[in-house]
Structures are given as C-alpha cells and as structure tokens.
Symmetry: C2
Subunit: 107 residues, 2 copies
DNA sequence: TATTCATTTCCATGATAATGGAAGCATGGA
DNA sequence: TCCATGCTTCCATTATCATGGAAATGAATA
C-alpha cells in the first residue's frame, strides 16, 4: 500500500512522468542521466532530484557503467502497481483481465 | 498528459487511494458518501475534500439519488491511465499486452 | 413551512514538495 | 598526480496540499 502511494506520488509530477515514460519506451537497456537531461531539456540538478525520487519509489533502476549511470524503468513495480489498482475490481464481476507488461523475467 | 498527472496525483494519497480502491471493488453501482465515511472512519469534511479531488481527476463519478450521493469508480479513466503509462513500452519489443478492466461499455 | 438528515464549503494550521545555481564527489584519461 | 567529465548533494525560495471543526447548502418528509 505505502509502496503504491510512493509509486503514484513519484509519477504524479509532469517532469517525472515524462522521465518515466521515456525510460519505459527505452526498454531494459536504459539511458544515461546526462543524455536524459539533454533530451528532455532539464537542468542536471533537477533531473537528479527527480531520478532520486523515482529510484526511491523503485520505479526506476540505476546501473553504473564506467562514468555513466544508466537509468531504466522497473517493469516489475509498474506491473505490481497496476494490479494493485484493479484488485478485486467489480466485486468479482467478469471483466477484462489486466495483463502485465514486459514481464518475461517475472512470469 | 495533464489528465494523467491529475489522476496520478489524485491517487498518490493514502486516504484517496483507499477510497478509490474501495469504489473499484464496489463496482458500477457505487457507494453513498456517508457510508464511505463510516466504513473508512474518515470525517465528513475530509472525505468530501478527497472525493472532490477524485471527481475533479475524473477517477470517480458522482450520481445523486434522493438525498444520497453515490460515488463510483470511473473505469474508463483508469484504463486510459494504465495505457498511457505503458505506451510504446520497450521500443516495441514483444511483451505482455495491457488489457483494460471492466470496459464492457467501451470496448 | 419547519425540520431532519446527507453532504459540502469555509478557513486556518501545519506539513511536504519543486526548483536550479553553486559546490562537492567520484571515475577515467593524460 | 592533475584535469575533464558525469552526476549528485546542499540550500534557500516558493508553491501546493492535507486536515477537520463549524457553518452553510440542499433534498425529502411531516
């Protein structure tokens, strides 16, 4: 529950949502911080702050590679969040089923 | 985009997330405000404030019925939100597909 | 019309978050 | 060891949000 609130709070911010979606689209390999800053036109300090928030919420994973730090989306958390939101929906009335995204690793 | 941020911000709060999930589980018929307040142990003013936020974010729908106001989850918005989050994920790499929930009306 | 009941608005208080320049900290090349 | 580069932390400022008691609104019944 608190995990879900943290994740939602992390995404509930224009800049962070943009960052996250960019990383979702980039896939598992991720993008180095500097490139993100350039691509999105965000000052380093600001980007760093938001990446920290996203990482803290476990929506994003950081991986160091020489002098670069690659950030990538954490699909497991995203999927868990979506499941949480739709849990027991409609008192069990048959309805569309929520399938997770990009979970080759977790299924 | 702003719609998504508003929806996420609305959900990024313990009390509101609880309210929303309760309504998701209650299904289309909804729950009157007073009953929600009792069930969740939230003061009227506080509940009203949060319901307003959720309604403003179009995550929740209000329907008056005599003296009661029934609140219910807006599944269309929820589904749109989840699609937005996973849009173009993994640069098109084949992966699980996100299916929407409870959308008999929209599909 | 007066009354009751469900819900909302008002408002003051306290708390938390966003921003970005400047300084600091690592890593790797010369 | 010195320097350049990639990224982060520090910090002060500004803005936004959560809470709940009390008063107000608005709908049904007598």
């Amino acid at each position: 529950m608190n995990i879900a609130v943290k994740a939602l709070a992390a995404l509930a911010q224009e800049t962070r949502l943009t960052i996250f979606r960019t990383l979702v689209q980039a896939g598992e390999s991720g993008v180095p911080a500097g490139q993100l800053a350039k691509e999105l036109g965000i000052p380093n300090a600001t980007l760093s702050f938001h990446l920290k928030e996203l990482t803290h919420a476990e929506l994003v994973i950081a991986r160091q590679e020489s002098r670069f730090i690659y950030y990538s989306a954490n699909f497991a958390t995203m999927n868990a969040l979506m499941s949480y939101l739709t849990e027991n929906c409609c008192t069990g009335t048959p309805c569309g089923i929520v399938k997770v995204c990009c979970d080759e690793k977790n299924s």
